[in-house]
């Protein structure tokens, strides 16, 4: 049973003739206790989809449901109580933390009244403060940080405090937008560990959004790969990582540098990310795709099942599957590629 279901969702900014469609038909689902990764280059529409997923933006088509009920935007202040178990952690912690209030109080705001303690207001505020301390400990922060203001914390601490605040209403699903972005290696690893524990122990489902496949693939159960507002591939993480069927997924994997001391330079993907408002005709990825043929330039490939539980949107997914490695490309101009594909190896050291 999925808690969060996004089906056929389109999202546009602006109205009427000036409307610019960013998300162009995305379907995905998050079950309890499951970590679902959503990856893709910056600007492809991940944050836009995230805002639609929690009811901060109204889809221009398609539906978002949470626990079977529609998630409809009513404005930030007036979110329906049935949506409290659906929480979002924004990329910028200041988007969910007020700069002027102490962290402990802000976490306390999130407690649902039924579990915020009973009795007089004194004992309620005491119990809230204790539970705020517990949440801070849960996310690996000292409880003493309750007394601090956001600006008195490091970037990593603020990110965790925002997570603690999102956990206050005991969410069933968390949407996390680029939670790793402001952290360095060890902070990222600590957060990755924490998220795995939260999903495993509390059964929280997560939509984990990031431009960094290297980290997401480490903890996600399933992956969705987004390109210019559409999902191009989807499936269990391990299978996608080992045998991606879409050239874009392969390119994302091949571009990750590994700290193996080999001196190998990862593969660049030709061309630029592009703008989802003006997508190329046919397959949106075709101008950057080493597998592109004529058909790709005119007919958009549908997302189809390629194996049980796996889907890809590529006319040539069978050829992609048959090739052992992603093709190696030479250092290219930053524009769309034209030249032949040759191999450039870094000299051995």
């Amino acid at each position: 049973m999925s808690r969060l279901e996004i089906s056929g969702v389109h999202v546009a900014y602006g109205k009427g003739r000036r409307a610019a469609e960013i998300v162009a038909g995305v379907t995905l689902a998050v079950r309890p206790g499951q970590i679902v990764g959503l990856v893709g280059e910056s600007g492809c529409g991940k944050s836009t989809l995230a805002r639609a997923a929690v009811g901060l933006l109204r889809p221009s088509a398609g539906t978002v449901t949470f626990g079977g009920r529609p998630v409809t935007p009513l404005g930030h202040r007036a979110r329906h109580v049935s949506l409290l178990p659906l929480q979002m952690v924004f990329q910028n912690p200041y988007a969910c933390l007020s700069p002027r209030r102490r962290i402990g109080d802000q976490i306390g705001d999130g407690f649902r009244d039924d579990d915020g303690g009973s009795g007089g207001s004194g004992s309620r505020s005491h119990s809230r403060s204790r539970r705020a301390a517990e949440l801070l400990e849960l996310v690996g922060l000292p409880p003493s940080l309750r007394e601090r203001y956001p600006h008195q914390m490091s970037g990593g601490q603020r990110q965790r405090a925002a997570l603690a605040a999102a956990l206050a209403p005991s969410p069933e699903v968390l949407v996390l937008d680029e939670p790793f972005a402001s952290l360095d290696v060890s902070g990222q690893a600590q957060l990755a560990r924490l998220l795995t524990d939260l999903s495993g122990e509390l059964g929280v489902g997560m939509l984990l959004i990031s431009h960094d496949l290297g980290i997401v693939k480490q903890i996600a159960d399933e992956l969705y790969v987004m390109y210019l507002g559409t999902i191009v591939e989807h499936g269990p993480t391990l299978e996608l990582w080992r045998s991606a069927r879409h050239p874009y997924t392969r390119a994302l994997i091949a571009a990750i540098p590994h700290a193996d001391g080999s001196g190998r330079i990862p593969e660049a993907l030709a061309g630029d990310v592009g703008d989802p408002r003006t997508p190329p005709p046919g397959c949106r990825f075709h101008p950057r795709c080493p597998y592109s043929v004529e058909e790709c330039e005119t007919r958009p490939p549908p997302l189809t099942e390629v194996l049980p539980g796996r889907a890809a949107a590529c006319w040539r997914h069978e050829d992609v599957a048959a090739s052992a490695d992603s093709p190696t490309t030479e250092e290219k101009p930053a524009g769309p590629s034209t030249g032949p594909i040759t191999i450039l190896k870094k000299e051995d050291r």
Binding site: E41, S42, S154, G156, D184, V185, S186, G187, Q188, A189, Q190, A192, R193, T196, H211, D212, L213, G214, I215, K217, Q218, I219, A220, D221, T237, L238, L240, W241, R242, A251, L252, A254, A255, I256, P257, H258, A259, D260, G261, S262, G263, R264, I265, P266, E267, A268, L269, D272, V273, E331, K332, P333, A334, G335, L344, K346, E347, R349
Partner: protein
């Protein structure tokens, strides 16, 4: 071979409301000609401050001691006028945000030509021709057409290529890149890494590459120095340091990285705790409170560097990863 850049016992104290605190504490670093010297470490470990000290870009109330030589010439204590000449011509810097080195209101062509006319004394036509060459060199499409565009008309990756062209303009001996690819998508980052590698081989420039990303280090760096709390805790060839780290901090950083395999069952293994803040650094080895291999002496003595024959050095006398030891 004379190192292009040689830093010895560099110390920096930065002003804070509670007085000056040491943020760089006795850093040694050598960059050989045409090499890429990598500097890694968690944020706040003093990487940027070290580079700014070398370039003479710290605020005047920062206290800088020790030595930094560019091709034998001492930079620390050089008058501002001379430093400015060094910065323009002989050393250039690339920042994480390319807009930090580009003026938003001026065309790319104007910025490149102004820079070359000021530092190289080129005439207008010559400078313009060279600007086109530079943009082609960093593999921007339609270099001549690019000259009349403004920085905001470019994507992040293209902007970073322009910033690199700007850094190359006066054929400097050293380019310092401070997290030059950290803000980019990996797909775009890989292109910049290839560019830097080619430039190093073709134009013989020495690159000091500062990044917390050990994957990037592995791809490009010839030597690697790992910073922790203002000190170099391990240094050596990048291949050796990454494959056979001897300092527990380096080993911890490597273990914390996502592995090349997906969804491994033992999960992620972060280093526990957080790095110390300057002014509140633990006694002895600054890493000892987070170290799984600590012994009593670590909390007391600042560790002396252990030196192996292949120029591999690390500041951990207990040496838990020595061959034959299990840890």
């Amino acid at each position: 071979m004379t190192p292009v850049l040689e830093i010895r016992d560099l110390r920096v104290k930065m002003p804070t409301p509670r007085g000056h605190v040491t943020v760089v504490d006795g850093v040694d670093l050598t960059a050989e000609p045409e090499s890429i010297a990598g500097i890694a470490g968690e944020s706040g470990s003093g990487k940027t401050i070290t580079m700014l000290a070398v370039l003479g870009l710290l605020p005047p109330d920062a206290i800088v001691e020790g030595s930094a030589r560019l091709a034998g010439r001492e930079l620390i204590g050089l008058p501002e006028r001379e430093l400015r000449a060094v910065r323009g011509r002989r050393m250039a810097m690339i920042f994480q945000d390319p807009l930090a080195s580009l003026h938003p209101m001026l065309t790319i062509g104007r910025q490149l030509t102004d820079h070359m006319r000021a530092h190289l004394g080129l005439g207008r036509a010559k400078a313009r021709a060279r600007a086109v060459e530079l943009l082609a060199e960093v593999r921007l499409p339609d270099p001549a057409g690019m000259l009349d565009r403004h920085p905001h008309e470019f994507s992040g990756g293209m902007r970073q290529r322009v910033a690199i062209a700007m850094a190359l303009a006066c054929e400097p001996e050293v380019i310092i890149g401070d997290e030059p690819t950290t803000a980019l998508d990996v797909t775009v980052q890989a292109g910049i890494l290839r560019l830097l590698d080619r430039l190093r081989r073709e134009s013989g420039v020495t690159v000091v590459l500062v990044t917390h990303d050990l994957g990037v280090m592995s791809a490009l760096a010839d030597t690697l120095s790992v910073f922790y709390s203002g000190r170099v805790v391990e240094t050596g060839t990048a291949g050796t340091v990454l494959r056979r780290p001897r300092h527990p901090y380096t080993a911890g950083l490597l273990a914390a990285l996502p592995s090349p395999e997906a969804k491994v069952d033992q999960g992620v293994r972060p280093i526990p705790g957080t790095p110390p803040v300057p002014g509140d650094r633990p006694s002895g080895c600054a890493f000892h409170p987070r170290c799984p291999h600590g012994v009593d002496q670590c909390a007391v003595e600042v560790p002396a560097p252990v030196e192996l024959d292949d120029r591999h050095r690390f500041a951990c006398p207990p040496d838990p990863f020595a061959a034959g030891r299990t840890s």
